[in-house]
Amino acid sequence: MSDQKLLKPGNPVGIVGYGAYVPRYRLPAKEVARIWTDGVGGLPVKEKAVAGIDEDVATMSIEAARNALARSDIDPDQLRAVWVGSESHPYAVKPTSTIVAEAIGAVPDVQAADWQFACKAGTEAMVAAIGFVGSGMAPYAMAIGMDIAQGKPGDALEYTAAAGGAAYLLGAAEESLAVINATYSYVTDTPDFWRRAYQKYPEHGQRFTGEPAYFAHITQAAKELMTAMGTTSDDYKYAVFHQPNAKFPQRAGKMLGFTSEQIEPGLLVPLIGNTYAGAAIIGLSAVLDIAEPGDRILLVSFGSGAGSDAFDIEITGAVDERRDRAPKTQDYIARRTEIDYATYSRYRGKLVMK
């Protein structure tokens, strides 16, 4: 492929600040199995993060965005966009992004919008923010991927559907702690997973989930990006893939020639579950917490329906000074209170009250 397929802004863009958020509560997968399968069968993760009774995508996005601002050197009124990608926006109609923008002090001179593309809504907002900043339209833009994922009680998704995500403040490359060299997006119409209007829980399209959806899009996006950039798996210190369970990203990584040492630092799904629009980019925030200047990172998201955004990211010298200004991804993971299925049912509104 020629590099004409790459998405590359006119002016170089990078990550000026970033912040993660994971709620406190954890539901062990064996607790879900205790309720629905008598404990029989394999488990896709150890446990998943569950949001508290007073949390939603707006409140979680606010905390991640505050962390991203703390790691930057800018004031919130310098932001010209606050974009939130999620498949669990608190309102059907009324933007999450205006609540977040108000709470972080970015209003009123700001573009605000909610994005939706299943699990890749976060990277979708990031790619748009690269365009916004890289075209010269805006100096800074905030892109957030955050979810409180829904899984039907007893369904395979209930073991993994989790809460969490990350916020990225994008700006000029020279002010960045990580430069985004290029991105590439690979999209087809694939019926692997959906949730119809007014439905509480999503459906998955039987065998479409694995090969034709996740693996096809992730590996194609990664291969096309690496070919256009003239890189191989050896050029990247870390690789982060969308992580619906522990197996899929490990297998995708192997198919692309990555070792487990490259993948493990960004593989959070065994401990926090699948945070949907937050899943790939919270893996990236965990890597940014430990990466050294000069390290290169491959990030590939996946969203059902279906598509992948692939990013080639390079760490700059600014990372050392900025990353301790806000809690790290692992700080949130270490803050952990285990709950049982009954508490989970109450926190997540699964009890019929009237």
Binding site: D54, I62, G105
Partner: protein, 137 residues
């Protein structure tokens, strides 16, 4: 329905915006435009750091209308670093004990729904035990 009130209070509720007295530099929360310390006019906005400690606390089992979903929950008087005492719910306690002097930090959370499931969502400040930073390099 109290939509105008929620809208009017959003700055102080979402991000602890109070006032600072230009005469005696006292920090005021909630904002009241007249400094209770020196009596001068104080309309300059001031965003609080959100850090403070528990001054006193109690647990609510019989919640007032609109807060039943959250019960039981802990309410505290929080002494902000900048001086004022704020009444707020504590959240994210997990199994953590609350004591007088427990360091806390402000988070913006969903306080309640205005009316039934068709009503607007009301967001505002709560406090939680300060997040432990275990991975500081």
């Amino acid at each position: 329905m109290e939509i105008p009130r929620h809208w009017r209070l959003k700055q102080q509720r979402y991000k602890l915006v109070g006032e600072v007295c230009p005469h005696c530099e006292a920090k005021l929360f909630p904002p009241r435009d007249i400094c209770p310390d020196c009596g001068g006019e104080a309309k300059q906005l001031y965003t609080f750091s959100g850090r403070g400690e528990v001054y006193s606390h109690t647990t609510v089992y019989d919640a007032p209308a609109g807060f039943e979903e959250n019960a039981p929950y802990t309410v505290a008087l929080v002494k902000l670093e900048e001086g004022p005492l704020v009444t707020a719910q504590l959240t994210d306690l997990g199994e953590q004990d609350v004591e007088i002097g427990t360091p806390v930090e402000m988070v913006t959370r969903r306080l309640r729904t205005d009316g039934d499931e068709r009503g607007m969502l009301v967001y505002g400040y709560k406090f939680r035990p300060r997040l432990e930073r275990v991975n500081q390099i």
